[in-house]
């Protein structure tokens, strides 16, 4: 019985590369990883947005309307719906002049019960210390 903690640190913008989208889809894939593992073993993902990466969390992304693809907003909601731990760096949100109500902080409209946390960078640094493996996207 063991839990492996994996941090998914999103630092890149949405859409220009697939990196942030893949961070979210890989983190969400933790929901089905048990089929490969022994009873009681599991992975525990933590999703953190830093730097330019916080712009993945903007509301009202209309990538579906214009380009026919799922928005990063939708992926961000899905990660909350599935109760992933999500942290957004407050200093970076402030730097871009954004307010909390402009960001995807919950997935209530699709039945989610978990909220994202707006935290100082030092909290994200703590996560990086705690996890078993670190991945930057």
């Amino acid at each position: 019985m063991a839990i492996t903690k994996l941090a998914f640190i999103v630092r890149s913008l949405p859409y220009k590369t697939e990196a942030s989208r893949l961070a979210l889809t890989h983190a969400i894939a933790s929901q089905t990883v048990e089929i490969y593992l022994e009873d009681g073993d599991n992975v525990e993902p933590v999703l953190c947005y830093i730097g330019d990466g916080v712009l993945n969390c903007l509301k009202n992304q209309q990538a579906g309307k214009h380009y026919g693809i799922t928005s990063l907003e939708q992926h961000a909601k899905n990660s909350l719906l599935l109760d992933l731990k999500v942290m957004i760096c407050k200093e970076d949100v402030d730097k871009f002049g954004l307010k909390e109500d402009q960001l995807v902080m919950d997935a209530e409209d699709i039945g989610g019960e978990t909220n994202a946390q707006l935290v100082p960078y030092s909290e994200i640094q703590k996560v990086m210390e705690e996890v078993d493996h670190l991945q930057f996207f």
Binding site: Y15, L58, N60, Q61, Q62, K65, H66, S71, K95
Partner: protein
């Protein structure tokens, strides 16, 4: 020359864009360039917006990213793909993508 620049990056490459000069210079913000029209870093608008008075931003790319035409810097004109075609054929002789 009349030069239209499709700027798809949000990082300024001063070696390239900074040195470009043209009798008439237009900058059309597309892709990640659209952040330059809307997001102020540390309260400051991007210096790109001082480079010319012919500034445009592609609405489709703006909206895809959750940005809104309402928040676009007043110097930048929102345009559609259809408008970009007209800018390319009617307003500029040479077009580059950065």
């Amino acid at each position: 020359m009349k030069l239209g620049v499709l700027l798809s990056d949000h990082k300024t490459d001063s070696d390239v864009l900074g040195r470009l000069t043209a009798e008439k210079l237009g900058i059309i913000l597309v892709g990640n360039g659209t952040y330059l029209a809307t997001i102020k870093e540390n309260g400051k608008a991007s210096p790109i917006l001082d480079k010319t008075s012919n500034l445009y931003v592609l609405v489709e790319d703006l909206e895809s990213r959750g940005l809104s035409a309402a928040n676009v810097d007043s110097r930048v004109k929102p345009v559609t793909y259809s408008d970009v075609v007209d800018l390319i054929f009617n307003d500029y002789e040479k077009i580059i993508w950065l």
